[in-house]
Symmetry: C2
Subunit: 573 residues, 2 copies
């Protein structure tokens, strides 16, 4: 298979190009990053020290946009937020260019002296490590503009904002999209702080001069499958194409699992004001953009671009998770306010989910009121200003709850929950509890229609029956998809893995089946849990916070009633 | 054997007097509190919630001051600082009066509504639970004076300061001594926050009217052993009697294990200015008190009373641990400044060890400079004022290090180390790593002359040989002594346990040997480790922070070189 490892040691600013070891041949994305973390990172190391490593890896077909949605970029490390293993992946154009440069994985290790900042440039000719102290204290938006002014627009940029520079545990990593906006985020687990700890403000990927010739084992078959798959995605993903991820507001309202006012209510009163359709109309009115692909060649096109009242660019992409956590969970439902909060998070490089959950904790503690949008803006500004309060917020919801004595903190393994209250979406609740990533919806979200790997599971989100099995299936499937480098919006069923396997076979000639892919997903999950075991995680870490078991969630008066014993069966199914 | 359990439910302000279960018959102090925590407290509960319990228990001979040093008081709970089990014990007069009331253990459970504060009064006639909101925001000194004005001086008081009211993880519990000063502290693990979470500002123990008649199995023998033991203590503890615990400054200087400037140096330059003798002379000059017993009838009398420049009372007792952490570890060596810091900690009810370690972290982070005494005072005032910075400090060294991005945090299981750098006092280092209590010297401190339970161990503090065995022995012995309710200054050798066993036998007629006592100590340690296992602790929690393994400690250039594998043999000796 293709590609090399590029390994950069920030302690001495040296880099090496290495062959991919044989046992890594079938791994891309998350499978690759998690294997490196397991094999190379000392489990007990300080996450922001020289011994942690951050690994970037595109998928196995990342250089071929024709393969629909194959351009995800994974980043992995030991997380400063959870202390455990972390992988986050995003769209954008970086994976494509990295793959075109023949780089299967970028492994960044070591640590430069304090206050030394660098810009990495990956290009056809090799790696450059350039001093970049003058770029510090820039937010992602200005940073990207400044870099593109110097290096042109036919590049991709991976970067951190002020939160990453300050090594805050809620710091994200930004990735530019097809419009050259820093709109896609490797958001969770504080990976921005790990990149910051390596002294890296930004990575430029310039694929100029790379030839477009590719060899295929069976090009005709490859193209045929791509075409079929693209057609299917265009046909089946129309709602996502039109409304983006904000289509989930209605879905979650129906289940009653929206996170509202620090996970106190499961629904909103005026759905029509906060629905995907309301957002769609607003974007249209303001001359924003609907339905664009964050990755080259994406047929789903769930991205959007939201303009402010003056029809000027405010933020892209306006997503369900960000809206729910920064908005509804803080009692804020106004699109403009949430859009602005979202923009600030993007600019300063803060995970919108963790930030929203943290602000809601501060509301719970009485520092500001639920619904106080201006106050929420001030809280985010504290992070940029690096005040003492900002430093607390920068550590995320769990630490903030500890400091302010709040016991209703919706966190697992130190990471805040995404926008699905586990009491009324129990399958996702099991994922939050058991995922090696902490409470992370992208690890296996039980949305309506996702049936796992069998046909006989009870899919009622309020019914605890079968939800451990469902979560286990979904976590396995998604680990497999993440390892292929495909976007999980493009399919999360066994037949999707089979299609991906066929594409890989048609490209490289390797014998691989859907079942093989699923087994790789399983192995990846096991690797991740093994790393966490070495860190010191036990089954006690696979629990939700106490209040989800006790407090009834309106309007369906659900509690999370899946017992620890049933949860612990997780890998014994 | 004697006594009942008094159980108080703060949810409904009811109390019950229960018989001590048979399996608790031989348990006092730590053995009792740890057994209750293991059997009754849900390991995963929120430490400041209704499901945690705080247990107070005197020792088995707590009502007989004739038995020298038998009047320790243990408190136990799930710790808000470590998340694991915690027992802390102190001198003072409370245990004596509790035992005289026939109370073997006081178990406080449940939780009152927020902002409801109470005063418990234990007396011959029973328990009173009195509203006490008017006592809030008082420091321990004023609180004790106020209560004694109302209830007389022939009482003991257990109380919390502002830190406990704010439920801070470094909050201690104060206990009055023979001079009616709140000078003795159940300091570690945040037990003051647990008492605060129960809405209890203070506990008055009034033993008026309790008859002095006691029955003995063999009074003559009992008195004979007491007399012998007292004589031996007077003869062998002369240094401790004269200099108090500050005699350890010279001892630690010699080993090179003083904690200086956030555990960066192992010695001080001008020993003569900070020695036990320097303190002794200062106290004498200022008309303070030397050599008084904190417990009734103590023959060691290591307590002292330090006056300020104006010869007015400043603080009692001026101790080695407080001086080292609040002073040397913060680069402060002036007795008056450290005495004042110590007084503030006592008054606000803050663990001096945790507070000193936390201020040093802030110095490491650059918020103030090492040596800045005025700055250190301000930091403690932040806690009283309950500012945002104060809330961080209130959570102790580990959380403060997390918020300010400091990786050199001398903590284990979330608790700051006492005043022995593990690199030059390796036996104590093993105790810090492995004790179920977190980094706690009272769990088994390898001071010169402490040889454990065998004669062939290498006792060189710089040599890693045998230190796991030594720590294991010391931890076992001390768990046994703590369970008897004797002060560990009165003996930490097998023959001391044998003497304690003889006293118990002469009093009650129960057949008990020194070996039985040691086995009870072992069981107590196992109970504690079992609770922590259920909380989710693993062997990975039995490690020191990374820098102790890497950074050489001057002047002996030692590192902590005992491998994890050797540490993990701990209970397999």
């Amino acid at each position: 298979m293709w590609g090399d490892i590029v390994r950069i040691d920030m302690s001495n600013l040296k880099f090496f190009r290495e062959r991919v070891p044989l046992r890594y041949q079938m791994l891309g994305g998350r499978g690759f990053t998690s294997k490196v973390v397991l094999e190379e990172v000392k489990p007990t190391c300080y996450p922001l020290g020289a011994k942690n490593k951050i690994i970037f890896s595109p998928g196995l077909l990342g250089d071929i946009p024709l393969a629909p949605c194959s351009g995800r970029l994974s980043a992995g490390a030991k997380s400063p937020l959870t202390g455990g293993i972390k992988e986050a992946n995003s769209g954008g154009t970086a994976a494509y260019r990295i793959a075109r440069l023949g780089i299967r994985a970028l492994i960044i290790e070591g640590k430069p002296p304090k206050n030394k900042w660098y810009l990495l440039k990956l290009a056809k000719d090799g790696v450059e490590i350039l001093p970049a102290n003058e770029l510090t204290e820039l937010g992602n938006y200005q940073l990207v503009e400044k870099i593109m002014d110097s290096y042109g627009k036919k590049i991709s940029i991976i970067s951190i904002g002020q939160a990453g520079e300050r090594l805050f545990s809620l710091a994200s990593i930004a990735v530019t999209d097809t419009l050259n906006k820093p709109s896609r985020y490797l958001a969770r687990g504080g990976l921005g702080a790990v990149l910051g700890s390596k002294g890296i403000k930004a990575i430029i990927i310039d694929d100029k001069g790379v030839e477009d010739k590719k060899s295929f084992y069976d090009e005709g078959l490859f193209k045929k499958i791509c075409k079929e798959h693209t057609k299917r995605l265009v046909e089946t993903k129309q709602v996502l194409t039109k409304y983006g991820t904000m289509c989930s507001v209605e879905e979650s309202q129906e289940m009653g699992c929206l996170p509202v006012r620090n996970f106190r209510e499961g629904t909103v009163k005026e759905l029509n004001k906060v629905s995907g359709e309301a957002l769609y109309n607003r974007i249209k009115e303001r001359g924003g953009k609907i339905s664009y692909g964050c990755m080259i060649g994406c047929p789903i096109k769930c991205a959007n671009l939201y303009n402010d009242k003056g029809r000027k660019y405010l933020v892209s992409t306006f997503e369900y998770e960000s809206f729910s956590l920064l908005g509804l969970n803080c009692g804020i439902s106004d699109f403009d306010t949430v859009g602005y909060l979202n923009r600030l998070c993007n600019d300063y490089g803060m995970d919108t989910i963790e930030t929203g959950a943290t602000i809601a904790i501060l509301m719970e503690a009485g520092l500001l009121s639920f619904g106080d949008g201006e106050g929420a803006i001030k809280m985010i500004e504290e992070v940029r200003k690096n005040t003492i309060l900002g430093k607390i917020i920068g550590q995320g919801a769990a630490v903030t709850a500890k400091v302010f004595g709040v016991d209703r903190a919706p966190v697992v393994k130190g990471q805040a929950m995404a926008a699905y209250d586990p009491r009324s979406n129990k399958g996702t609740g099991v994922t939050f509890a058991t995922s090696p990533m902490g409470a992370d919806h992208t690890a296996g979200c039980a949305l309506p229609g996702r049936k796992g790997m069998r046909d006989d599971l009870n899919l009622d989100p309020h019914n605890s029956k079968d939800k451990v099995k469902l979560s286990c299936d979904l976590q396995t499937l998604i680990a497999a998809v993440d390892t292929s480098g495909f976007c999980y919006f493009s399919g999360l069923a066994v037949e999707d893995l089979e299609r991906i396997a066929k594409l890989i076979k048609a490209r490289y000639g390797v014998k691989v089946t859907g079942e093989d892919m699923i087994n790789i997903g399983k192995t990846t999950l096991k690797d991740e849990r093994e790393f966490n075991r070495r860190v010191g995680f036990t089954k006690v870490d696979d629990r939700l916070p106490e209040f989800f078991y006790k407090e009834k969630l309106p309007p369906f008066n659900t509690v999370f009633d899946i017992s620890p014993e049933e949860i612990d069966k997780y890998f014994n199914l």
